[in-house]
C-alpha cells in the first residue's frame, strides 16, 4: 500500500456520514507530512474541510494549512472562469458576471457540464503539477459516479466545442491506475457497507477511475479474546456481580451499568465485525482494506485529523 501516495489524484467517496471528509483530510495531511505538496479539495462546499483543518474558509483559490498542505473548496462557477481565462482564452471574462448565474442553469440542465468543470479543475491541477498529490473529498455515493463518468458522457452530448476537446487529456489522467485512484470510505454498519460494495462495482463498470483502497472508519477495538469473553460472561451473573459489589463496597446498580456498558461495546463490535466481513467479501481480496479505529476522544477538528492520519500511516 505504500503506493497510495505515488498516485497524483485520489477521490475519497462513500455514503454520507461515514467520515469522508475526515479520511480525505487525514490522507492529505499524512501525504504532506511525507513531503508531498498536497492539495485537498472539498467538492461539496459545505465547510466540512474548514472544520476539519480548523483553518478558516477554504476558497476556490486555496488556503495554506501548512507549508505543504493547501485546502480548497470547489466552485464550478469559479472553475468556469478559470477555465475560460487559462484554456479557452475567451476574451469576455470580465463581462461574464451576469451570465454566470445563467450558465449555472445550463450547467444544471446539460448533462455533465458541472461535473466536467469539477473534474476538469482537479485534473488541471494534476496536469500542471502545481501539487504532487490532489486529494478530493468527493461527492457521496449518489453523485460521484456521474462526476467521474462525466468525461466519457460528455462526448455523447457535446459534439463540438472546447469542452469536448478537453476530455481526452482528462481521461488519460483518470484512467491511469498509477495516477488516479478512488478511495471508498465506509463504517462497519449495514447501509455504509452495502453502498461501499455497490460503489466498488459501479466504479469499475461506469467510470474510468480505478479503486485504490477501501477505508473502514470508526472500527471499534476488540475488547476480549475468546477466553476473556467467557470470564466476562461469568462476571455478568447476578451472584458474581453481587459478590464483587460487596467486596469493593459498590452500589450494585452502578456496577451493573458498568458491566452492561462493556456488554454493549462487545455487541456493537461484533455487529460491526460481521459487516466488515461482508465488506471484505464484496470488494474482493485484491483491494487493500485499511482500518481506522473509533476515536473516543475529540471527534472533530485538527486533533482528530492528526490522530486519523497517524493511524492511517500505520496501516499504509
Amino acid at each position: 500500500m505504500s503506493g497510495l501516495f505515488d498516485r497524483r489524484l485520489l477521490f475519497v467517496t462513500g455514503k454520507g456520514g461515514v467520515g469522508k471528509t475526515t479520511v480525505a483530510a487525514a490522507l492529505g495531511l499524512l501525504a504532506s507530512e511525507q513531503g508531498k505538496r498536497t492539495l485537498v479539495c472539498e467538492v461539496e462546499p459545505k465547510g466540512d474541510l474548514s472544520v476539519a483543518y480548523e483553518c478558516g474558509p477554504t476558497p476556490f483559490r486555496g488556503r495554506a494549512v501548512t507549508e505543504r498542505l493547501t485546502a480548497m473548496s470547489m466552485d464550478t462557477e469559479a472553475s468556469l472562469r478559470e477555465y475560460l481565462r487559462l484554456i479557452a482564452r475567451v476574451p469576455v471574462v470580465g463581462r461574464i458576471g451576469p451570465v454566470a448565474s445563467a450558465f449555472d442553469f445550463v450547467a444544471t440542465a446539460a448533462p455533465g457540464i458541472r461535473e466536467i468543470l469539477t473534474v476538469g479543475k482537479l485534473c488541471y491541477e494534476v496536469r500542471e503539477r502545481h501539487y504532487d498529490l490532489v486529494v478530493v473529498d468527493a461527492s457521496a455515493t449518489g453523485q460521484v459516479i456521474g462526476q467521474l463518468a462525466a468525461p466519457i458522457g460528455i462526448n455523447e452530448l457535446v459534439r463540438v466545442g472546447i469542452v469536448r476537446n478537453q476530455t481526452s487529456w482528462m481521461l488519460e489522467i483518470l484512467r491511469d491506475p498509477a495516477v488516479t485512484g478512488a478511495v471508498i470510505a465506509t463504517t462497519p454498519e449495514e447501509m455504509p457497507v452495502t453502498e461501499a460494495v455497490d460503489l466498488a462495482g459501479r466504479l469499475s463498470a461506469e467510470t474510468p477511475v480505478n479503486l485504490a483502497c477501501v477505508v473502514a472508519n470508526r472500527v471499534l477495538p476488540e475488547l476480549f479474546g475468546n477466553r476473556e469473553e467467557q470470564v466476562f460472561e461469568a462476571l455478568l451473573e447476578p451472584a458474581v456481580m453481587k459478590e464483587v459489589a460487596a467486596e469493593l463496597r459498590l452500589d450494585e446498580a452502578a456496577l451493573g451499568a458498568v458491566l452492561q456498558a462493556a456488554r454493549l461495546a462487545v455487541t456493537i463490535r461484533r455487529d460491526g465485525a460481521a459487516h466488515l466481513e461482508r465488506l471484505r467479501e464484496g470488494i474482493g481480496e485484491q483491494v487493500p482494506l485499511l482500518y481506522v479505529p473509533y476515536l473516543f476522544g475529540r471527534a472533530h477538528g485538527m486533533r482528530a485529523i492528526r490522530q486519523v492520519a497517524r493511524l492511517l500511516g500505520e496501516e499504509l
Binding site: 440542465a109 452530448l157 466545442g161 476473556e228 469493593l248 456498558a261 471527534a299
Partner: protein
C-alpha cells in the same frame, strides 16, 4: 399513557403530513417507517409511508421491493405475527424518481406527442435521473399529489439524501424560478435575435465557444418543449410550496448525536425556523444509554480499575467451577478492560448529552432512541423502534413479543424528554 405519548398523539391528530428530514446516514428512512408503523398500530387511521431508496431489508419488511410508485398495504397478519393488533392500516410506497418525473410530464404536457418528445429527449433523461435538486422537488411533488388525493389520514414521507438539507425546502421555489429565469428566455429565442440582445450576447459568445452550438440548439429545443408545460409546472410548484407551509404539515428532524450530523441537524433546524416551517419532532437516533453518564457508575468504573489486580485471584477462584482453571491475570485484564471501555463510552455519551442539550430547544418534542445492535429486519423490529418513539408502555407491549430482541445496556426505552427537564 406517558407524557410524550399524548404529545405525539396530539401532533399526529393535528397533522396530515410528516416530512422526515436530516443528515445522511442517521436512520432517517427507518425512523420515518417506524413512526408510520407506530401510528398505524397504536393510534389508528390510514397511514402511508413513502420511502426513498430504503435498505433492502426495510423494503422487505414493508413488502415494497420493486413495486415502484405503487402503494401496498402491510397486511394485518404481519402485525399480528409481530404481536400487535393494529388499530389502523399501514401502507407503504417507494418513490421512483424517473417514474414520478414521467408522470409529471404527462400531466402537464399539452398533448401526447409533446409528452413523448420530452420523455425521449436526452436532456430530459439527464435531468430526471441525475439532477439531485430535481429529486428533492419530486419527493415534495409526490407528497402533494398523495395529499390532494386525500386517501390517507397521515402521510409520512422520507426525503432523498441531498447535498444540502436546505435544497429540499427550497425545491418548489427553485422550480418556479427555473421557469421564469432569464436564461430560459435567452436560450429559447430564435438564433438570429440572440446576437442582437445586448444582455444575452456575452452568454452566447461564451456558450457557443465552450459548449458548441449543437448543444445549445439541443438545449433550446428542450427548453422550448419545457415551456409548453410552464404554467402547469409553476402553479403546481406553488401549490407544493403551500403544502409545506400548511398548518397540517410538520417536519420530523432525524439525526444522531455525532459531531458532523449534529451540526447539519442544527443548521436544518435553523433553516426550518427561518422559513417558518413547523418542526414537530426531533428524533435523535443511535444514542448511547443514559447510564453511561451516571456519576455513580463512573465511580464504580474507577474503583474497578483500581482494584483489578487485587480482584483477580479471588474472582478467578470463584469462577473456576467444575475443575476449569481460570488464570488470575486473565480476570484482572477483563476487569481492567471493562473499566477502560466504560470510560471510553462515557466520554462519547457525555458529548452526546451536551449536543442534545444544544440541539433541542425548550418547546421541542425530543425523542432519543438508544443504540440498537442489529437492524430492522421485519415489522416486529420496526414496531419496536416505533414504540420507542411513542413511549415506554407501548414498547413493553411490543418488546415482550419480539423473540430474540436484544436489549442494549441501561434503560432500553427512549426517554420522553422535553429539553430543559432534568
Amino acid at each position: 399513557m406517558t407524557g410524550r405519548q399524548s404529545e405525539l398523539e396530539q401532533l399526529v391528530a393535528a397533522k396530515e403530513v410528516i416530512v422526515a428530514c436530516g443528515p445522511g446516514g442517521v436512520g432517517k428512512t427507518t425512523t420515518a417507517a417506524a413512526i408510520a408503523a407506530g401510528v398505524a398500530a397504536h393510534l389508528g387511521g390510514k397511514v402511508l409511508v413513502i420511502t426513498v431508496d430504503p435498505a433492502r431489508r426495510l423494503a422487505d419488511a414493508l413488502g415494497i421491493g420493486g413495486l415502484g410508485n405503487r402503494a401496498t398495504r402491510v397486511p394485518d397478519e404481519a402485525f399480528l405475527a409481530a404481536g400487535v393488533r393494529p388499530k389502523g392500516e399501514l401502507h407503504a410506497a417507494m418513490l421512483d424518481m424517473s417514474e414520478s418525473w414521467d408522470a409529471l410530464v404527462r400531466r402537464h404536457a399539452p398533448d401526447e406527442p409533446t409528452a413523448g418528445q420530452i420523455l425521449s429527449n436526452p436532456l430530459y433523461q439527464n435531468i430526471s435521473r441525475r439532477f439531485s435538486q430535481g429529486h428533492d422537488y419530486i419527493a415534495m411533488e409526490r407528497l402533494f399529489e398523495l395529499h390532494e388525493e386525500g386517501e390517507y389520514d397521515l402521510l409520512v414521507v422520507d426525503t432523498p439524501p441531498s447535498r444540502n438539507a436546505l435544497d429540499l425546502l427550497d425545491a418548489p421555489a427553485r422550480m418556479q424560478e427555473f421557469f421564469s429565469s432569464r436564461l430560459l428566455r435567452w436560450v429559447t429565442v430564435p438564433y438570429r435575435s440572440r446576437l442582437v440582445n445586448m444582455a444575452s450576447r456575452p452568454f452566447y459568445q461564451v456558450a457557443d465557444r465552450v459548449l458548441g452550438s449543437q448543444l445549445l440548439q439541443d438545449l433550446a429545443d428542450f427548453f422550448i418543449l419545457l415551456q409548453t408545460m410552464r404554467d402547469g409546472f409553476v402553479a403546481r410548484a406553488a401549490a407544493v410550496d403551500r403544502l409545506l407551509r400548511d398548518a397540517r404539515t410538520t417536519f420530523l428532524l432525524v439525526t444522531t448525536l455525532e459531531a458532523v450530523p449534529g451540526r447539519e441537524a442544527a443548521e436544518m433546524k435553523a433553516a426550518l425556523a427561518e422559513r417558518r416551517l413547523h418542526l414537530g419532532l426531533l428524533v435523535c437516533n443511535k444514542v448511547l444509554p443514559e447510564s453511561l453518564t451516571d456519576p455513580g457508575a463512573a465511580r464504580a468504573a474507577d474503583r474497578l480499575a483500581e482494584a483489578s489486580a487485587e480482584l483477580g485471584p479471588g474472582l478467578a477462584a470463584r469462577l473456576a467451577s467444575g475443575g476449569d482453571e481460570v488464570a488470575a491475570d486473565v480476570v484482572s485484564r477483563v476487569v481492567d478492560e471493562v473499566a477502560h471501555s466504560f470510560a471510553n463510552f462515557r466520554l462519547v455519551a457525555n458529548r452526546e448529552a451536551e449536543l442534545l442539550r444544544e440541539l433541542s430547544a425548550a418547546h421541542d418534542v425530543t425523542v432519543t432512541i438508544p443504540y440498537q445492535p442489529g437492524h430492522v429486519t421485519d415489522l416486529a423490529s420496526l414496531l419496536a423502534m416505533g414504540a420507542r418513539v411513542f413511549g415506554d408502555e407501548a414498547e413493553e407491549h411490543v418488546a415482550a413479543r419480539v423473540s430474540g430482541s436484544r436489549r442494549a445496556g441501561g434503560r432500553s426505552g427512549g426517554r420522553p424528554r422535553r429539553a430543559g427537564a432534568p
